[in-house]
């Protein structure tokens, strides 16, 4: 087809408006607007003291950047996995349970509530990273080498993960008494901004560096769009896919550290429940095609915070935690319907029609 000049030049502000980041931005605007009208106090941030007497910032916005951290970190890995393999990893919640369980196993040994830690946190964290990346590699090799659809391949760990987590600690729920362990999930004394936010920022920075100073982005996208071509151009698509799953494993371990640190313990069946759904939604809300290919990392990150914004807004309006998904679903459907190409086309046709009818009416 002669589509040579089909694509009008995208540039400047017009280009930004066509960029996929507009989808999460629009969603964010809607949420902000809604809260502004409903209750402007939503945006109030106050400085208070927590139970240990340390200064902390309070407010819904702080809650969002605090509890959205794990989601945003997961969204990083999920975006890469989605782009490279054209599918999603639904085992991240179970993965967090496993990584968290390993973390506690190393920290507490076999005791349920040890007086002193058995190993430094950093060692425990590295071990849990390793384990999470191994599980990521397991998922990745099923996807890359056995060519199993990602959702299905990760269904295995989704089903077994929480059982494995329980098995690692022999179904015990170890408790960490060391106060410094809680720093990762709550506040470092003297700093009023929650630590997870800093961890998330560090992750963003590392990701940015990775995308800026390596060719990961190009490789992942070309593997996601056309595997055969990528191979003929000297890439190893299997390896790239495997790599994205291992990177997601790393993200899972970091999220697990935050989650476990918040609670100082673990609950295998509840920890990070449904977070895989939120992470996938974050990627989708970021305007990334769930079928793989091109991606925008910043859109995914923003998408994650929009999801958290939505959650927090709903909590504020006294929606019970159990009922939360219903409201979330409605919002998600509205967003997705609005951004569906088919709907957009129809809308633009409608607008065109209205416009063309007006002059016609004036003429007659």
């Amino acid at each position: 087809m002669a589509n040579n000049n089909a694509q009008p030049k995208k540039a400047g502000i017009a280009g930004l408006f066509r960029h996929q980041i507009m989808i999460p931005i629009a969603a964010l605007m809607l949420l902000v607007l809604f809260n502004l009208i409903a209750d402007p106090s939503f945006f109030k941030i106050t400085l208070g003291n927590n139970s240990d007497g340390n200064p902390v910032l309070n407010g819904y916005l702080i809650t969002i950047i605090d509890s959205g951290s794990e989601l945003a970190i997961l969204a990083l890995g999920m975006t890469l996995v989605t782009a490279a393999s054209g599918g999603q990893d639904i085992s991240v919640g179970a993965g967090i349970a496993i990584a968290g369980s390993v973390l506690l196993r190393v920290l507490c040994g076999t005791e349920t509530s040890p007086e002193t830690l058995h190993a430094p946190v950093i060692v425990a964290f590295l071990v849990s990273c390793l384990v999470a990346m191994l599980f990521g590699a397991f998922n990745g090799s099923l996807v890359a080498f056995f060519k199993i659809q990602p959702m299905i391949a990760t269904l295995i760990l989704f089903t077994a993960g929480r059982s494995i987590a329980a098995w690692i600690n022999n179904n015990q729920l170890p408790n960490v008494n060391e106060p410094s362990f809680s720093y990762y999930g709550t506040y470092i004394p003297g700093i009023p901004i929650p630590t997870p936010f800093f961890i998330a920022l560090a992750c963003f920075l590392v990701t940015w560096l990775l995308l800026r100073f390596t060719t990961l982005g190009l490789y992942v996208q070309s593997v996601g769009i056309n595997e055969k071509t990528s191979r003929l151009n000297g890439l190893n698509p299997e390896l790239i896919k495997l790599l994205t799953y291992i990177l997601l494993g790393l993200c899972v371990a970091i999220a697990a550290l935050i989650k476990v640190s918040r609670l100082q313990t673990i609950n295998y069946s509840v920890i990070a429940k449904d977070i895989e759904m939120d992470a996938i939604l974050a990627v989708a809300l970021g305007g990334n095609a769930l079928g793989g290919g091109k991606f925008s990392m910043s859109s995914s990150i923003l998408g994650a915070y929009v999801i958290q914004f939505l959650t927090t807004t709903l909590y504020k309006f006294q929606v019970k935690a159990d009922a939360l998904p219903a409201y979330k679903a409605v919002v998600v459907i509205i967003l997705v319907v609005m951004s569906a190409p088919a709907v957009r086309e129809k809308l633009s046709m409608l607008i065109k029609k209205l416009r063309s009818e007006k002059p016609a009416a004036q003429n007659s």
Binding site: L142, F146, M151, I156, S163, I280, V336
Partner: protein, 353 residues
């Protein structure tokens, strides 16, 4: 052509088994092998027909859900809302029967209605607005789960008389009973849900095998673009696949409700994953175009059987169930992927000739 002929002689055309049939065969063989294994080595009553019937009784709802799921997967989609719909149906019916004093027929109608509503909305969004099925049904699942707790947020048993009577109805199977130690005859039985499940499975099987609309599901799953070019109404086919799946979820929800006799927000948690796993073990490919209802039914039974075997073997800890199911899924997926890869290679070689 002359070259091809010289190479391979006269009319070769080996009528190979289709992908669908091959995968179904594997599943059935594995099921039979596992059952024989259980009979030989575990002995804990696997020889009794009732053990098998109990598996059926406990999994009638899952069979219905998995059949609907297979249909959607054959067209190349997925529906992960079925577990949520099941919970919503159970809870709604429970509340309607006990708290609102509703009648049983109306409750059944309501169950079907809820399923149908999910099917229609999701089908419309997927087929006509072309939104990815995963996202649509993910939202559907969220919505159903949330709505369940909005309807009522605590588990409770239903006391409605008609319902209790219906729930307790057992269909006795002649000649299959056993004698207990004191020589008393214990008849074998199945629940009504099993009849419903088998009827629906047969209905769907016939639809998929011997009805033109049924073949359209395969065509759309095999190659959407081609199906369109061949004159199949692709959008309508996809819409109907979701509609039927929703309907099955509604009916399956009621069958589940009949089996457990209670409403709870925790009901059927993970049922969507079990349904997907059963379909896959039964030989349905998530890529679409390949699958078979018989395989799916055996997929459900295999899944249930392995859980039974594991607990009979003394591995009672809760986590073993999860791990074995996952292990089984893993093995099946790997075996399938190897078979498909080999086939592809053989086909590619054929195509090159």
């Amino acid at each position: 052509m002359s070259i091809v002929k010289r190479r391979s002689g006269e009319l070769k055309a080996p009528t190979k088994m289709t992908d669908t049939n091959l995968l179904t065969m594997i599943t059935i063989c594995v099921f039979v092998a596992m059952y024989i294994f259980a009979v030989l080595f575990l002995k804990k009553g696997f020889l009794k027909p009732q053990t098998f019937f109990n598996i059926l009784n406990a999994n009638a709802a899952l069979i219905i859900l998995a059949c609907g799921m297979s249909l959607v997967m054959i067209t190349g989609g997925i529906d992960i809302s079925v577990g949520g719909v099941t919970a919503l149906v159970s809870m709604s019916c429970a509340v309607y029967l006990d708290h609102k004093g509703g009648s049983l027929p109306m409750a059944i109608l309501m169950a079907v209605g809820i399923g149908l509503a999910f099917g229609i909305v999701q089908g419309y969004l997927v087929a006509y607005l072309e939104i990815q099925p995963f996202i649509v049904t993910l939202a559907g699942m969220f919505f159903a789960r949330g709505a369940t707790t909005i309807v009522y947020n605590k588990p409770f048993n239903v006391a409605n008389e008609d319902f209790v009577k219906l729930k307790a109805t057992r269909i006795l199977i002649p000649y299959m009973g056993t004698y207990n130690k004191r020589g008393k005859y214990i008849p074998a039985y199945i629940e009504i849900g099993v009849i419903v499940a088998i009827a629906l499975a047969i209905l769907l099987f016939v639809l998929l095998k011997w009805a033109k609309p049924g073949r359209n599901f395969y065509a759309v799953g095999g190659n959407r673009q081609s199906a369109l070019m061949l004159g199949v109404n692709v959008k309508r086919t996809i819409f109907f696949s979701h509609l039927i799946c929703g309907l099955m979820a509604g009916i399956g929800g009621f069958v589940y409700f009949m089996h457990v006799g209670s409403g709870s927000p925790q009901h059927a948690s993970g049922a969507e994953m079990n349904a997907i796993a059963s379909s896959i073990i039964g030989g349905t490919m998530l890529t679409g175009g390949v699958g078979n209802i018989i395989g799916t039914v055996f997929g459900v039974l295999s899944l249930a059987l392995i859980q039974n075997i594991v607990s009979s073997a003394g591995l009672d800890d809760a986590w073993w169930t999860g791990i074995t199911v996952a292990g089984m899924l893993c093995i099946f997926l790997v075996v399938q992927s190897i078979i498909i890869a080999r086939r592809k290679k053989a086909n590619a070689a054929a195509a090159k000739q």
